[in-house]
Symmetry: C2
Subunit: 157 residues, 2 copies
């Protein structure tokens, strides 16, 4: 994926987390995901689909980062992963991917979003049936880390 | 989901497995999925999306059933889950959901398919961010069992 496709994933993540959770993540360089495993302890998964585009966006958090983010979002003081946090990861995945959809739509890449799923567990084998590389972008806040993993195949090209 | 939406999931599963793997599954009654866990040892996941419909189709196999099905499909004699079996689950998920897309499309329910994902591991927490119930249909072949889990929300209604 070239930069004008990757950048919307970064800027939408920044926008949503700054607005919803008052955190200011820093983004690392995009790399190719090296394995087929869930990165963090809670992972949001959303499918992207149109008659020209198929893809997946994954958002995966370590425990300290998602506790900070959800506690900020909901005004809570959770100290362990619970159902509210798992659901919040689904909502964040949905909102961030909604922003990506808007930005890529402005570039003529049109698609809709499937229902978000949330996977609990680190290192779970999760493989994609695609030949397109999965791009991984690591984000950091003072409390912890999370990643976005994006895969998008454009059949029109 | 009413019967004319559920039936395409059953008939497409039958069609694909009979054609591709020469097995003749019997289908149980549709029920509401009772938990948020992966049912079998290998699970295919595919998102459904359009501007009116959001959903997920999940296909999850116990080990004996998927060994039989993939060995029949590929002319192999695998005795344990491997990468080829995991990929075959993704392909089966894609083909079955492609048949569902065709049949529901004929009823005016139009959507596209996201990239299939494959999850390895039984009892992994996997939750859907939806209020629509997840319908589970159990299938049986002499060697083992598998399930289809479908969730589909139509915003036009």
């Amino acid at each position: 994926m070239d930069a004008n496709i990757i950048n919307p994933f970064i800027s939408s993540t920044m926008n949503v987390l700054t607005t919803m959770a008052s955190v200011n993540p820093t983004a690392g360089k995009p790399t190719v995901k090296p394995d087929n495993k869930s990165w963090g302890v809670v992972t949001g998964i959303i499918g992207l689909a149109s008659n020209k585009i198929r893809g997946t966006m994954i958002l995966s958090f370590d425990e300290p980062s998602i506790l900070k983010i959800v506690n900020n979002m909901l005004g809570e003081n959770y100290t362990a992963i619970n159902d509210e946090i798992v659901d919040a990861v689904g909502e964040l995945t949905n909102m961030i991917c909604g922003g990506v959809k808007k930005q890529l739509g402005d570039l003529g890449m049109l698609f809709d979003l499937a229902t978000p799923l949330m996977l609990v567990g680190q290192g779970v084998e999760l493989k994609s049936l695609t030949k397109a590389p999965i791009i991984s972008i690591a984000f950091e806040i003072p409390e912890g880390k999370f990643v976005i993993e994006a895969n998008l195949a454009d059949f029109a090209k």
